[in-house]
Amino acid sequence: MKPRLDRNGITKRAAQELKSGDYVNLGFGMPNLVADYADKGVIFQTENGAIGYGPLVPSTDKESADFHYHDALGRFWVPAPGMAVFDVLTSFAMIRGGRMIAVLGGLQVSEKGDLANWNTGGPQGGLIGGAMDLAFGAKKVIVTMGHTTKDGGPRILKKCTLPMTAKECVDLIVTDIAVIEVTLKGLVLKEVLPGWTPKEIQALTQPRLKLAPDLKEMEL
Protein backbone atom coordinates (compact mmCIF):
# COMPACT_ATOMS: atom_id res chain seq x y z
CA MET A 1 0.00 0.00 0.00
CA LYS A 2 1.21 3.46 -0.87
CA PRO A 3 1.14 6.18 1.79
CA ARG A 4 -1.99 8.29 2.15
CA LEU A 5 -2.70 11.28 4.33
CA ASP A 6 -5.00 10.73 7.27
CA ARG A 7 -7.74 13.21 8.21
CA ASN A 8 -5.24 15.38 10.05
CA GLY A 9 -2.96 15.51 7.05
CA ILE A 10 -5.71 16.46 4.64
CA THR A 11 -7.03 19.19 6.89
CA LYS A 12 -3.51 20.48 7.58
CA ARG A 13 -3.01 20.92 3.85
CA ALA A 14 -6.42 22.57 3.45
CA ALA A 15 -5.57 24.96 6.28
CA GLN A 16 -2.59 26.23 4.28
CA GLU A 17 -5.08 27.86 1.90
CA LEU A 18 -6.33 30.17 4.66
CA LYS A 19 -4.61 33.36 5.66
CA SER A 20 -4.98 35.87 8.44
CA GLY A 21 -8.15 37.93 8.08
CA ASP A 22 -9.98 35.35 5.95
CA TYR A 23 -13.53 34.55 7.01
CA VAL A 24 -14.06 30.81 6.93
CA ASN A 25 -16.95 28.42 7.46
CA LEU A 26 -16.10 24.78 8.16
CA GLY A 27 -18.48 22.07 7.07
CA PHE A 28 -19.52 18.85 8.70
CA GLY A 29 -16.97 16.11 9.21
CA MET A 30 -13.28 16.44 8.40
CA PRO A 31 -13.30 20.20 7.70
CA ASN A 32 -13.90 21.10 11.34
CA LEU A 33 -10.38 19.89 12.09
CA VAL A 34 -9.05 22.71 9.90
CA ALA A 35 -9.31 25.17 12.77
CA ASP A 36 -6.59 23.30 14.64
CA TYR A 37 -4.05 23.99 11.89
CA ALA A 38 -5.08 27.39 10.54
CA ASP A 39 -3.26 30.68 11.08
CA LYS A 40 -4.41 32.33 14.32
CA GLY A 41 -5.70 35.33 12.37
CA VAL A 42 -8.28 33.30 10.44
CA ILE A 43 -11.81 34.20 11.55
CA PHE A 44 -14.29 31.35 11.75
CA GLN A 45 -18.00 31.68 11.21
CA THR A 46 -20.63 29.17 12.17
CA GLU A 47 -23.95 29.32 10.37
CA ASN A 48 -26.03 29.01 13.54
CA GLY A 49 -24.98 32.56 14.33
CA ALA A 50 -21.48 33.43 15.54
CA ILE A 51 -18.26 34.72 14.05
CA GLY A 52 -14.80 35.30 15.50
CA TYR A 53 -15.25 32.87 18.37
CA GLY A 54 -12.41 31.28 20.32
CA PRO A 55 -10.96 27.76 20.43
CA LEU A 56 -13.00 24.58 20.80
CA VAL A 57 -13.58 23.13 24.25
CA PRO A 58 -11.15 20.20 24.61
CA SER A 59 -12.55 16.69 24.63
CA THR A 60 -11.57 16.22 28.26
CA ASP A 61 -13.49 19.25 29.46
CA LYS A 62 -17.17 19.10 30.21
CA GLU A 63 -17.16 22.04 32.64
CA SER A 64 -16.53 24.64 29.93
CA ALA A 65 -19.20 23.32 27.58
CA ASP A 66 -22.19 25.68 27.33
CA PHE A 67 -25.17 25.20 25.01
CA HIS A 68 -25.15 28.93 24.27
CA TYR A 69 -21.78 28.59 22.58
CA HIS A 70 -21.38 25.85 20.00
CA ASP A 71 -20.98 25.65 16.27
CA ALA A 72 -23.45 24.32 13.72
CA LEU A 73 -22.16 20.80 14.31
CA GLY A 74 -22.65 20.99 18.06
CA ARG A 75 -18.97 21.46 18.93
CA PHE A 76 -18.55 23.73 21.93
CA TRP A 77 -16.25 26.75 21.76
CA VAL A 78 -15.36 29.57 24.11
CA PRO A 79 -16.30 33.19 23.41
CA ALA A 80 -13.50 35.55 22.35
CA PRO A 81 -13.03 39.33 22.19
CA GLY A 82 -14.27 40.77 18.90
CA MET A 83 -16.82 38.00 18.47
CA ALA A 84 -20.31 38.75 17.21
CA VAL A 85 -23.50 36.70 17.52
CA PHE A 86 -26.40 37.16 15.11
CA ASP A 87 -29.51 35.56 13.73
CA VAL A 88 -29.67 33.10 10.86
CA LEU A 89 -31.01 35.75 8.49
CA THR A 90 -27.77 37.69 8.93
CA SER A 91 -25.74 34.49 8.89
CA PHE A 92 -26.96 33.44 5.47
CA ALA A 93 -26.47 36.91 4.02
CA MET A 94 -22.83 36.37 5.04
CA ILE A 95 -22.80 32.90 3.55
CA ARG A 96 -24.53 33.74 0.27
CA GLY A 97 -22.82 37.07 -0.21
CA GLY A 98 -19.44 35.83 -1.36
CA ARG A 99 -17.54 37.05 1.69
CA MET A 100 -16.43 33.69 2.98
CA ILE A 101 -14.28 30.72 2.18
CA ALA A 102 -16.02 27.40 2.76
CA VAL A 103 -14.14 24.23 3.55
CA LEU A 104 -16.59 21.41 2.93
CA GLY A 105 -16.53 17.66 3.09
CA GLY A 106 -17.14 15.88 -0.17
CA LEU A 107 -18.55 12.59 -1.39
CA GLN A 108 -18.05 13.32 -5.10
CA VAL A 109 -16.77 16.23 -7.20
CA SER A 110 -17.27 16.43 -10.97
CA GLU A 111 -14.80 17.77 -13.50
CA LYS A 112 -16.86 20.95 -13.72
CA GLY A 113 -16.74 21.41 -9.97
CA ASP A 114 -20.20 20.08 -9.18
CA LEU A 115 -20.35 18.90 -5.59
CA ALA A 116 -22.25 16.03 -3.97
CA ASN A 117 -21.77 16.04 -0.23
CA TRP A 118 -25.05 15.83 1.60
CA ASN A 119 -26.50 12.45 0.86
CA THR A 120 -24.82 9.11 0.38
CA GLY A 121 -27.89 7.88 -1.44
CA GLY A 122 -28.73 5.62 1.48
CA PRO A 123 -31.67 5.98 3.83
CA GLN A 124 -29.95 8.48 6.08
CA GLY A 125 -30.27 11.42 3.73
CA GLY A 126 -31.95 14.24 5.57
CA LEU A 127 -29.01 16.49 6.25
CA ILE A 128 -29.20 19.29 3.68
CA GLY A 129 -28.60 21.94 6.30
CA GLY A 130 -26.70 24.92 4.96
CA ALA A 131 -24.42 22.97 2.61
CA MET A 132 -26.20 24.08 -0.55
CA ASP A 133 -26.11 27.72 0.56
CA LEU A 134 -22.42 27.50 1.42
CA ALA A 135 -21.48 25.76 -1.81
CA PHE A 136 -23.43 28.35 -3.79
CA GLY A 137 -22.42 31.48 -1.93
CA ALA A 138 -18.84 31.14 -0.74
CA LYS A 139 -16.23 33.09 -2.66
CA LYS A 140 -14.03 30.00 -2.59
CA VAL A 141 -15.05 26.40 -1.96
CA ILE A 142 -12.38 23.98 -0.81
CA VAL A 143 -13.43 20.33 -0.66
CA THR A 144 -11.60 17.87 1.56
CA MET A 145 -12.15 14.17 0.97
CA GLY A 146 -10.51 10.84 0.41
CA HIS A 147 -9.42 10.52 -3.23
CA THR A 148 -11.25 7.20 -3.54
CA THR A 149 -14.18 5.42 -1.95
CA LYS A 150 -13.79 2.58 0.52
CA ASP A 151 -13.95 0.21 -2.44
CA GLY A 152 -11.18 2.08 -4.23
CA GLY A 153 -13.48 3.71 -6.79
CA PRO A 154 -12.94 7.34 -7.81
CA ARG A 155 -14.72 10.20 -6.06
CA ILE A 156 -13.61 12.68 -8.71
CA LEU A 157 -15.91 11.91 -11.60
CA LYS A 158 -17.02 13.18 -14.98
CA LYS A 159 -20.48 13.54 -13.50
CA CYS A 160 -21.65 13.12 -9.91
CA THR A 161 -23.90 10.11 -9.39
CA LEU A 162 -25.01 10.95 -5.86
CA PRO A 163 -27.60 13.68 -5.14
CA MET A 164 -26.13 17.06 -6.01
CA THR A 165 -25.34 19.83 -3.50
CA ALA A 166 -24.54 22.59 -5.98
CA LYS A 167 -23.18 22.72 -9.47
CA GLU A 168 -19.94 24.34 -10.61
CA CYS A 169 -19.09 25.50 -7.13
CA VAL A 170 -15.83 23.79 -6.15
CA ASP A 171 -12.55 25.70 -6.54
CA LEU A 172 -10.04 23.35 -4.96
CA ILE A 173 -10.02 19.67 -4.00
CA VAL A 174 -7.67 18.49 -1.28
CA THR A 175 -7.51 14.70 -1.03
CA ASP A 176 -5.33 12.21 0.79
CA ILE A 177 -3.01 12.02 -2.24
CA ALA A 178 -3.39 15.20 -4.29
CA VAL A 179 -4.38 18.83 -4.59
CA ILE A 180 -6.49 19.58 -7.65
CA GLU A 181 -7.75 22.92 -8.87
CA VAL A 182 -11.03 23.26 -10.75
CA THR A 183 -10.58 25.63 -13.67
CA LEU A 184 -12.71 26.61 -16.65
CA LYS A 185 -10.41 24.45 -18.74
CA GLY A 186 -10.79 21.40 -16.55
CA LEU A 187 -9.12 19.85 -13.52
CA VAL A 188 -5.52 20.82 -12.89
CA LEU A 189 -3.26 18.63 -10.74
CA LYS A 190 -1.27 21.03 -8.58
CA GLU A 191 0.32 18.79 -5.98
CA VAL A 192 0.91 15.09 -5.40
CA LEU A 193 1.67 13.34 -2.14
CA PRO A 194 5.34 12.27 -1.98
CA GLY A 195 5.51 8.68 -3.20
CA TRP A 196 2.84 9.13 -5.88
CA THR A 197 3.23 9.92 -9.57
CA PRO A 198 0.74 11.98 -11.57
CA LYS A 199 0.01 8.89 -13.61
CA GLU A 200 -0.95 6.90 -10.51
CA ILE A 201 -3.26 9.71 -9.39
CA GLN A 202 -4.82 9.92 -12.85
CA ALA A 203 -5.57 6.21 -12.60
CA LEU A 204 -7.75 6.90 -9.54
CA THR A 205 -9.48 9.91 -11.11
CA GLN A 206 -12.19 9.57 -13.73
CA PRO A 207 -11.84 12.83 -15.68
CA ARG A 208 -8.63 13.81 -17.42
CA LEU A 209 -6.21 15.78 -15.21
CA LYS A 210 -4.05 18.54 -16.66
CA LEU A 211 -0.66 18.91 -15.02
CA ALA A 212 0.10 22.30 -13.51
CA PRO A 213 3.25 23.91 -14.91
CA ASP A 214 4.45 24.23 -11.31
CA LEU A 215 3.28 20.77 -10.24
CA LYS A 216 4.99 19.88 -6.98
CA GLU A 217 4.92 17.58 -4.00
CA MET A 218 2.56 18.36 -1.09
CA GLU A 219 4.34 19.91 1.88
CA LEU A 220 2.77 19.76 5.31
Binding site: G49, L73, V88, Q124, G126, I128, G129, K167
Partner: protein
Protein backbone atom coordinates in the same frame (compact mmCIF):
# COMPACT_ATOMS: atom_id res chain seq x y z
CA UNK B 1 -51.83 48.11 28.68
CA UNK B 2 -52.35 44.57 27.43
CA UNK B 3 -51.03 41.92 29.77
CA UNK B 4 -48.61 39.62 28.00
CA UNK B 5 -47.24 37.78 31.03
CA UNK B 6 -48.52 34.25 31.59
CA UNK B 7 -47.66 32.01 34.52
CA UNK B 8 -48.20 28.62 32.95
CA UNK B 9 -46.96 27.10 29.73
CA UNK B 10 -50.15 25.06 29.44
CA UNK B 11 -52.22 28.22 29.61
CA UNK B 12 -49.97 29.95 27.09
CA UNK B 13 -50.65 27.28 24.45
CA UNK B 14 -54.21 26.44 25.50
CA UNK B 15 -55.94 28.01 22.50
CA UNK B 16 -53.74 26.64 19.73
CA UNK B 17 -56.11 24.77 17.44
CA UNK B 18 -55.59 21.51 15.60
CA UNK B 19 -54.03 22.11 12.21
CA UNK B 20 -51.95 25.11 13.31
CA UNK B 21 -48.55 25.78 11.75
CA UNK B 22 -45.89 26.57 14.33
CA UNK B 23 -42.38 27.86 13.82
CA UNK B 24 -40.32 26.52 16.71
CA UNK B 25 -36.66 26.84 16.10
CA UNK B 26 -34.25 24.24 17.35
CA UNK B 27 -30.55 23.81 16.83
CA UNK B 28 -30.60 20.70 18.99
CA UNK B 29 -31.04 22.22 22.46
CA UNK B 30 -30.09 25.77 21.43
CA UNK B 31 -32.88 28.13 20.40
CA UNK B 32 -35.52 25.62 21.46
CA UNK B 33 -38.63 26.69 23.39
CA UNK B 34 -38.61 23.42 25.28
CA UNK B 35 -41.33 24.21 27.81
CA UNK B 36 -43.79 25.39 25.19
CA UNK B 37 -43.10 22.30 23.09
CA UNK B 38 -43.66 20.09 26.13
CA UNK B 39 -46.92 21.92 26.87
CA UNK B 40 -48.09 21.42 23.29
CA UNK B 41 -47.35 17.73 23.65
CA UNK B 42 -49.39 17.56 26.86
CA UNK B 43 -52.24 19.38 25.14
CA UNK B 44 -52.12 16.93 22.24
CA UNK B 45 -52.91 19.45 19.48
CA UNK B 46 -53.19 17.43 16.25
CA UNK B 47 -52.28 17.84 12.61
CA UNK B 48 -49.72 20.53 13.27
CA UNK B 49 -47.09 21.78 10.85
CA UNK B 50 -43.68 22.24 12.45
CA UNK B 51 -41.11 24.65 10.98
CA UNK B 52 -37.67 24.18 12.52
CA UNK B 53 -33.97 24.09 11.69
CA UNK B 54 -32.97 20.86 13.14
CA UNK B 55 -35.28 17.90 13.47
CA UNK B 56 -33.28 15.20 15.19
CA UNK B 57 -34.15 12.25 17.40
CA UNK B 58 -34.38 12.48 21.18
CA UNK B 59 -31.39 10.68 22.62
CA UNK B 60 -32.13 11.55 26.22
CA UNK B 61 -35.07 11.41 28.58
CA UNK B 62 -37.88 13.90 28.00
CA UNK B 63 -37.60 14.88 31.63
CA UNK B 64 -34.20 16.41 30.95
CA UNK B 65 -34.84 18.13 27.63
CA UNK B 66 -37.19 18.13 24.67
CA UNK B 67 -36.83 18.97 21.01
CA UNK B 68 -39.51 19.26 18.29
CA UNK B 69 -39.24 15.51 17.63
CA UNK B 70 -41.39 14.80 20.69
CA UNK B 71 -44.32 16.17 18.68
CA UNK B 72 -43.97 13.58 15.90
CA UNK B 73 -47.26 11.78 16.71
CA UNK B 74 -49.11 15.11 16.48
CA UNK B 75 -47.61 16.28 13.21
CA UNK B 76 -49.09 16.51 9.73
CA UNK B 77 -46.17 18.29 8.10
CA UNK B 78 -42.54 19.16 8.74
CA UNK B 79 -40.57 21.93 7.03
CA UNK B 80 -36.85 21.72 7.81
CA UNK B 81 -33.34 21.59 6.36
CA UNK B 82 -32.26 18.79 8.71
CA UNK B 83 -34.07 15.48 9.32
CA UNK B 84 -31.81 13.43 11.49
CA UNK B 85 -28.04 13.28 11.36
CA UNK B 86 -26.07 10.22 10.33
CA UNK B 87 -24.27 10.00 13.71
CA UNK B 88 -27.58 9.55 15.48
CA UNK B 89 -29.13 7.07 13.09
CA UNK B 90 -30.16 9.28 10.17
CA UNK B 91 -33.80 9.61 9.17
CA UNK B 92 -34.91 6.24 10.54
CA UNK B 93 -36.80 7.84 13.45
CA UNK B 94 -39.32 9.54 11.15
CA UNK B 95 -39.88 6.72 8.69
CA UNK B 96 -42.84 5.17 10.46
CA UNK B 97 -44.57 8.57 10.55
CA UNK B 98 -43.86 9.26 6.89
CA UNK B 99 -45.45 5.91 6.06
CA UNK B 100 -48.49 7.02 8.03
CA UNK B 101 -48.84 10.28 6.16
CA UNK B 102 -46.35 12.78 7.60
CA UNK B 103 -45.33 15.19 4.84
CA UNK B 104 -41.69 16.27 4.97
CA UNK B 105 -40.67 19.37 3.03
CA UNK B 106 -36.89 19.59 2.88
CA UNK B 107 -35.35 22.99 2.37
CA UNK B 108 -31.97 24.63 2.93
CA UNK B 109 -31.20 26.78 5.95
CA UNK B 110 -30.68 29.90 3.88
CA UNK B 111 -33.82 29.26 1.89
CA UNK B 112 -35.87 28.74 5.04
CA UNK B 113 -34.75 32.03 6.53
CA UNK B 114 -35.55 33.85 3.26
CA UNK B 115 -38.97 32.19 3.17
CA UNK B 116 -39.65 33.35 6.72
CA UNK B 117 -38.52 36.87 5.82
CA UNK B 118 -40.85 36.74 2.82
CA UNK B 119 -43.65 35.78 5.20
CA UNK B 120 -42.80 38.68 7.49
CA UNK B 121 -42.72 41.22 4.65
CA UNK B 122 -45.88 39.74 3.03
CA UNK B 123 -44.04 38.88 -0.19
CA UNK B 124 -45.78 36.48 -2.55
CA UNK B 125 -42.64 34.45 -3.19
CA UNK B 126 -39.12 34.89 -4.53
CA UNK B 127 -36.56 33.47 -6.92
CA UNK B 128 -33.87 31.58 -5.09
CA UNK B 129 -30.47 30.66 -6.54
CA UNK B 130 -29.76 27.81 -4.10
CA UNK B 131 -30.81 24.28 -4.94
CA UNK B 132 -30.75 24.48 -8.74
CA UNK B 133 -30.28 20.98 -10.20
CA UNK B 134 -30.80 19.40 -6.78
CA UNK B 135 -33.78 17.69 -5.14
CA UNK B 136 -34.82 21.12 -3.86
CA UNK B 137 -36.08 22.18 -7.28
CA UNK B 138 -38.44 19.23 -7.69
CA UNK B 139 -41.95 20.35 -8.56
CA UNK B 140 -41.05 24.03 -8.48
CA UNK B 141 -41.12 26.71 -11.15
CA UNK B 142 -37.70 27.65 -12.52
CA UNK B 143 -36.73 30.88 -14.21
CA UNK B 144 -33.63 32.45 -15.71
CA UNK B 145 -33.04 36.04 -14.59
CA UNK B 146 -30.09 37.98 -15.97
CA UNK B 147 -28.52 34.74 -17.12
CA UNK B 148 -28.75 32.82 -13.87
CA UNK B 149 -31.18 30.03 -12.98
CA UNK B 150 -33.51 30.41 -10.02
CA UNK B 151 -36.17 28.37 -8.27
CA UNK B 152 -39.46 29.90 -7.15
CA UNK B 153 -39.93 29.62 -3.39
CA UNK B 154 -43.02 30.49 -1.40
CA UNK B 155 -43.17 32.45 1.84
CA UNK B 156 -43.62 30.77 5.21
CA UNK B 157 -46.11 32.61 7.39
CA UNK B 158 -46.72 30.45 10.45
CA UNK B 159 -49.80 30.75 12.61
CA UNK B 160 -47.60 30.68 15.70
CA UNK B 161 -43.99 31.07 16.73
CA UNK B 162 -42.57 29.49 19.89
CA UNK B 163 -39.59 31.55 20.99
CA UNK B 164 -36.82 30.77 23.48
CA UNK B 165 -35.49 34.15 24.60
CA UNK B 166 -33.11 35.20 27.32
CA UNK B 167 -34.74 38.27 28.88
CA UNK B 168 -38.10 39.85 28.20
CA UNK B 169 -39.57 43.01 29.61
CA UNK B 170 -43.28 43.09 30.34
CA UNK B 171 -43.90 44.77 26.97
CA UNK B 172 -42.46 41.69 25.24
CA UNK B 173 -39.13 43.19 24.15
CA UNK B 174 -36.73 40.26 23.87
CA UNK B 175 -33.04 39.50 24.01
CA UNK B 176 -31.38 36.16 23.27
CA UNK B 177 -28.11 34.69 24.47
CA UNK B 178 -25.28 33.40 22.29
CA UNK B 179 -26.37 31.11 19.50
CA UNK B 180 -29.91 30.83 20.89
CA UNK B 181 -30.92 33.58 18.48
CA UNK B 182 -31.17 31.30 15.45
CA UNK B 183 -34.08 32.09 13.20
CA UNK B 184 -36.23 33.13 16.14
CA UNK B 185 -36.24 36.88 15.37
CA UNK B 186 -37.55 36.31 11.85
CA UNK B 187 -39.95 33.61 13.05
CA UNK B 188 -41.46 36.10 15.52
CA UNK B 189 -41.81 38.63 12.71
CA UNK B 190 -43.40 36.15 10.31
CA UNK B 191 -45.83 34.49 12.70
CA UNK B 192 -49.35 35.73 13.30
CA UNK B 193 -49.04 35.04 17.03
CA UNK B 194 -45.86 34.67 19.07
CA UNK B 195 -45.35 33.03 22.44
CA UNK B 196 -41.99 33.32 24.18
CA UNK B 197 -40.38 31.55 27.13
CA UNK B 198 -37.47 33.34 28.77
CA UNK B 199 -34.95 33.02 31.55
CA UNK B 200 -36.15 36.21 33.18
CA UNK B 201 -38.94 38.78 32.90
CA UNK B 202 -37.84 42.31 33.80
CA UNK B 203 -39.42 45.75 33.97
CA UNK B 204 -39.59 48.05 30.92
CA UNK B 205 -36.37 50.03 30.72
CA UNK B 206 -34.19 47.22 32.09
CA UNK B 207 -33.36 46.16 28.55
CA UNK B 208 -31.54 48.97 26.75
CA UNK B 209 -33.48 50.11 23.67
CA UNK B 210 -30.36 49.49 21.55
CA UNK B 211 -30.09 45.87 22.68
CA UNK B 212 -33.64 44.70 22.03
CA UNK B 213 -33.49 42.04 19.32
CA UNK B 214 -37.19 41.25 18.96
CA UNK B 215 -39.38 44.29 19.71
CA UNK B 216 -42.42 43.60 21.87
CA UNK B 217 -44.91 44.26 19.09
CA UNK B 218 -43.95 40.86 17.69
CA UNK B 219 -44.50 39.08 21.02
CA UNK B 220 -47.99 38.28 22.29
CA UNK B 221 -47.32 36.11 25.35
CA UNK B 222 -44.33 35.61 27.61
CA UNK B 223 -43.68 33.03 30.30
CA UNK B 224 -40.71 32.99 32.67
CA UNK B 225 -39.14 29.54 32.96
CA UNK B 226 -39.48 28.52 36.61
CA UNK B 227 -36.74 26.92 38.65
CA UNK B 228 -36.48 23.31 37.52
CA UNK B 229 -38.10 24.07 34.18
CA UNK B 230 -36.65 22.74 30.95
CA UNK B 231 -33.69 24.68 29.63
CA UNK B 232 -32.69 26.49 32.80
CA UNK B 233 -28.94 26.91 33.26
CA UNK B 234 -28.95 24.10 35.83
CA UNK B 235 -30.87 21.72 33.59
CA UNK B 236 -28.59 22.54 30.66
CA UNK B 237 -25.54 21.78 32.77
CA UNK B 238 -26.98 18.43 33.85
CA UNK B 239 -27.75 17.63 30.24
CA UNK B 240 -24.15 18.34 29.26
CA UNK B 241 -22.98 15.79 31.84
CA UNK B 242 -25.51 13.29 30.50
CA UNK B 243 -24.48 13.82 26.88
CA UNK B 244 -20.82 13.51 27.77
CA UNK B 245 -21.52 9.93 28.75
CA UNK B 246 -23.39 9.09 25.52
CA UNK B 247 -20.75 7.96 23.02
CA UNK B 248 -22.13 9.38 19.72
CA UNK B 249 -23.04 12.67 21.40
CA UNK B 250 -19.61 13.08 22.97
CA UNK B 251 -17.95 12.33 19.68
CA UNK B 252 -20.12 14.90 17.93
CA UNK B 253 -19.94 17.69 20.49
CA UNK B 254 -16.42 17.37 21.85
CA UNK B 255 -14.86 16.22 18.54
Amino acid sequence: MRNKVFYSFDEAVADIPNGASIAMDSWAIAATAQNLIAALKRKGTKDITVITHCFIPMIFSEENAVMPAVLLPQMKKLITPVVGIPHLGGVAFVEEYVKNGLEVEQTTIGTMTSRLYAGAACLGGFYNPVGVDTIIEQGKEKRVIDGREYIFEKPIKPDYAFIRGHKADRLGNLTYKGIFRGDQPVMAMAAKFTIAEVDEIVEPGEIDAENVITPGIFVDRIVEIPEGGLGTDMKLKELIYELYEIEPARKLMWG
